[in-house]
Amino acid sequence: MLEARVKKILRDFPLDLAITVNPGEILVLMGENGAGKSMTLNMISGIIPPDSGLIRLNGTIFYDPHGGIHIPVEDRRIGYVFQNPAVFPHMTVRENIAFGLRARHTPTSTIAGRVDRWLDTMNLSDLAGVKAGMLSGGQQQRVALARALAPGPVLLMLDEPFNALDARSMQDVKGFLRQYVADEGIPCILVMHRVRDAKDVGDRACILDQGVKVWEGRPGDLPGMYLTQERGHPARQLETRISSLTGIPSSITD
C-alpha cells in the first residue's frame, strides 16, 4: 500500500495532497494542465523532494523529514514512466529494457528471457536490436513502458502512458496493465486526461486542481462537468461545486 502526503510550494500555488493506493489498485490521477500531477509523481519517486509530508510504501518509509529519512530514488524500486519517454537513445531497445534488470543485479542468465518476454508484450520484438533514439514516438513510449515494468517494480507510476500509442497498442497496454497490477498486487498510479481511459483501466479516480484534490471516486462516477467547468475558478470554489453535484463530501482527508 502506498500512503503519501506531500506538500510543496510551487510557482503558482501550493501543492498539498494526500493519496493512498492499495495493493493491486489502479488510481487514476486527473486534472487540468499544470494542476500538479507530474510534480506529485516526481515527489513520490524521490526525484524532487517535497517541502514536507510523509511517503510510505508497504510499511517502509520513503520520506519523512522529521525522521530525516529520504530514501534515494534508486532504492525505491519503483517503475516510473515520465510524461516524456526519455528512452536512452544510445542503447538498443533490448538494452533499454534490460537496463533496470542489470541495475538491480538480476542474474544474467534470466535477463535475456525476461527481456524477450517484454519485447513480445510490447510488440517490440522486431525492433530489439535498433537504437532506441531511432524509433518513432509511439515505439519509444512502448520501450519506456517495458523498461519501467521489466525490473518488477513494487510501485508503478505512469504519466500519461497512452500518449503516442496507436489504437491497437493502447488497447493492448490497457488490458495488460489491469491484469499486471492485479496479478502483482502492487499499487499503481496512472495520470491521464480522458474519462474514457480512466473508466477502462482505473479502480479509483481523483481530480487535482491547483495542487489540491477536488474530487475522488469511482471512474464511472467521474463528473461530466469536469469536462465543461469554467476555467480559473479557485480550487475551493470548484471543489464545492463538484461536491454539490456529486454528493461527495468536500473534504477528503488522508
Binding site: S45, E74, R76, A86, H90, G100, A103, P151
Partner: protein
C-alpha cells in the same frame, strides 16, 4: 505567398551561405597557414636525420609515453570529478570551481616553479617525501605531473560544460530503474556526452603533448628522462632553427595520427556501445 514573395528570403539565404563559406575559409586559413608554412622550412634530409637522432627518438617516445599517461590520468580522474562536481551540491563548491581554474591562468613556467616549490627537495611536500627517499622533481613522473597540472583543467572544464548541458531526464530515469551513480555515470552520462568528451580529451592530449614551460622548470631537460619533444624542439631552435622546426613537424604529424586514430576508435566504441 507566391514565388516572387520568396525572393528576398532566397537572396538573404544566398548571402548567408556565402558569408558562412567565407568565415569557414578565413578561420581555417588563419589556423592552418602558419603550420603549413613550417613545412617549407624542412627538407627530406633534415627530416631523415632528425628521425635518426637518438635524442629526438627518445624525446618522441618520452612524449608519447608521458602524454598517454597524462591523458589517461586526466580522463580517469577528471571525468568522475566533473560528474560529481556538476551533479552534487556541497559546501565550498564555488571555491572548488575557482581553484581548479587556477592552473589555466598561470604562465607555464610559473606553474613549473610552483610545482618545484611544492614537490622539490626543499618544497613544502617534497621535504617530507625526501625523508622517505622519494624524489619527484626531475624525473619522468615530474613530466607527467607537470602535464597533468597544466592540461587537466581543459578537460575538466569541457566535461563539466557537457554534463551540465545534458538533459537530466535520462539520469533521472536511470535512477528510478535502480541504477547506482556509477552505473548511471558509465552507462548513461558518459555515452551521451562521449563525442564531446573525446573532443575534450583530444584537446587536453594536445596541450600535454605541447607542454614546455612547466616541464622544463619542474622536470628539467634531461634526454631520455625528462626531455620531451617540445624540449627537444627548443634545443633544436638553437643554432639552425630548421632542425627545431623539423622536430616540431615530426611532433605535429605524429600527434595528428594519434588524435585521428583516437577519435576514430572512440567514435566506433561509442557507436558500438
Amino acid at each position: 505567398m507566391n514565388a516572387t514573395g520568396m525572393r528576398p528570403e532566397r537572396l538573404r539565404h544566398t548571402i548567408a551561405i556565402a558569408g558562412a563559406a567565407a568565415l569557414l575559409l578565413l578561420v581555417t586559413l588563419y589556423l592552418a597557414l602558419p603550420v603549413v608554412t613550417l613545412f617549407f622550412r624542412t627538407t627530406p634530409d633534415l627530416f631523415l636525420s632528425s628521425l635518426g637522432d637518438p635524442d629526438v627518438l627518445s624525446a618522441l617516445w618520452l612524449s608519447l609515453f608521458t602524454s598517454t599517461v597524462t591523458i589517461s590520468v586526466v580522463v580517469l580522474l577528471g571525468t568522475p570529478f566533473a560528474f560529481f562536481h556538476s551533479r552534487s551540491r556541497y559546501p565550498g563548491k564555488v571555491l572548488v570551481d575557482t581553484l581548479i581554474d587556477l592552473p589555466l591562468v598561470l604562465p607555464p613556467a610559473v606553474a613549473g616553479l610552483g610545482l618545484l616549490l611544492l614537490y622539490g627537495r626543499t618544497g613544502l611536500i617534497g621535504r617530507y617525501l625526501d625523508l622517505f627517499g622519494i624524489t619527484i622533481a626531475f624525473t619522468t613522473l615530474a613530466v607527467i605531473m607537470a602535464q597533468v597540472f597544466v592540461a587537466s583543467p581543459f578537460y575538466i572544464r569541457q566535461a563539466k560544460a557537457l554534463f551540465e548541458q545534458m538533459d537530466p531526464a535520462y539520469e533521472q530515469t536511470a535512477r528510478t530503474l535502480g541504477a547506482s551513480p556509477l552505473r548511471i555515470f558509465l552507462g548513461i552520462t558518459i555515452p551521451l556526452t562521449a563525442n564531446g568528451l573525446v573532443s575534450g580529451a583530444v584537446m587536453t592530449f594536445a596541450r600535454a603533448l605541447g607542454e614546455f614551460g612547466a616541464t622544463i622548470m619542474f622536470a628539467g631537460n634531461l634526454p631520455g628522462v625528462t626531455q620531451t619533444m617540445p624540449l627537444a624542439v627548443y634545443g633544436g631552435l638553437e643554432g639552425n632553427f630548421n632542425i627545431g622546426i623539423t622536430i616540431a613537424i615530426l611532433l605535429v604529424i605524429l600527434s595528428f595520427a594519434i588524435m585521428m586514430a583516437f577519435r576514430f576508435f572512440a567514435r566506433r566504441e561509442v557507436s558500438r556501445a
